[in-house]
Subunit: 137 residues, 2 copies
């Protein structure tokens, strides 16, 4: 398997400590507080390894850079189109049988699926309402 290293452990610690789905740069900045000498290349290298080992998942949201998170229970994502935040949603919202439906219809072997919902999160809806004050003269 993989060898241990302070850098690798620190990256895992950072990922475990948050659920904001950070990108590589943010992870780099966090780890730098503990290991100032770490390089961005090392962060990318470790993320790649961790992905291969199945410990970390890379998500590409419709616009923006790659984001990473620890694989806990698998979950869906909701991306706010206003603030760009990515929220977790409980996977149980959707019946797992969708995979069987797809497998039956296509003959493909289905090993997983992800759903990305789009829309406006609650805090941006509030801001939106404030902003609309007086826009109807």
């Amino acid at each position: 398997m993989s060898r241990r290293s302070r850098q690798r452990e620190a990256i895992i610690a950072v990922l475990k400590s948050t659920d904001i789905h950070p990108d590589a740069g943010w992870i780099y900045e966090q780890v730098r507080k503990v290991i100032p000498s770490i390089s961005l290349g090392t962060v990318y290298r470790n993320l790649k390894k961790l992905k291969e080992e199945g410990l970390v998942r890379e998500i590409k949201v419709t616009s923006g850079l790659s984001r990473y998170d620890m694989v806990r229970e698998s979950h869906y994502h909701f991306r706010c189109e206003v603030c760009g935040r990515v929220y977790n949603l409980d996977q149980s919202l959707v019946d797992r049988s969708v995979e069987e439906v797809v497998a039956r219809k296509t003959g493909f072997r289905v090993t997983g699926h992800d759903i990305e919902f789009r829309g406006i999160c609650s805090s941006c809806q509030k801001i939106e309402m404030k902003g609309e004050k007086g826009e109807q003269p």
Copy 2:
């Protein structure tokens, strides 16, 4: 609205002619057969515009570069983990009510969703079986 141009029309034509979900480079090569002087920058600029106008959709598959396709009926995607091909799936496979479920549970305004299924497509399953011949000594 947008102004017409040979380049723009050619890009649309290429996108209409295929369903392989090409990336910008492939589109560029295709258009070049008709307009050899077109630049990659123009392809990107047009794709961006077409996206804003809602004519084209950009999909980011879990690994690889951005891919583009004309918005016809909306559909899901299946990405083969072996060959990397992206297939279209009929959106009617999954009940649209998932959006309502999410909206009710979160209080977010949900304006859309995408599903990416993963697995092994039928042609890669065949190859896989061939390749396994004799691997069990």
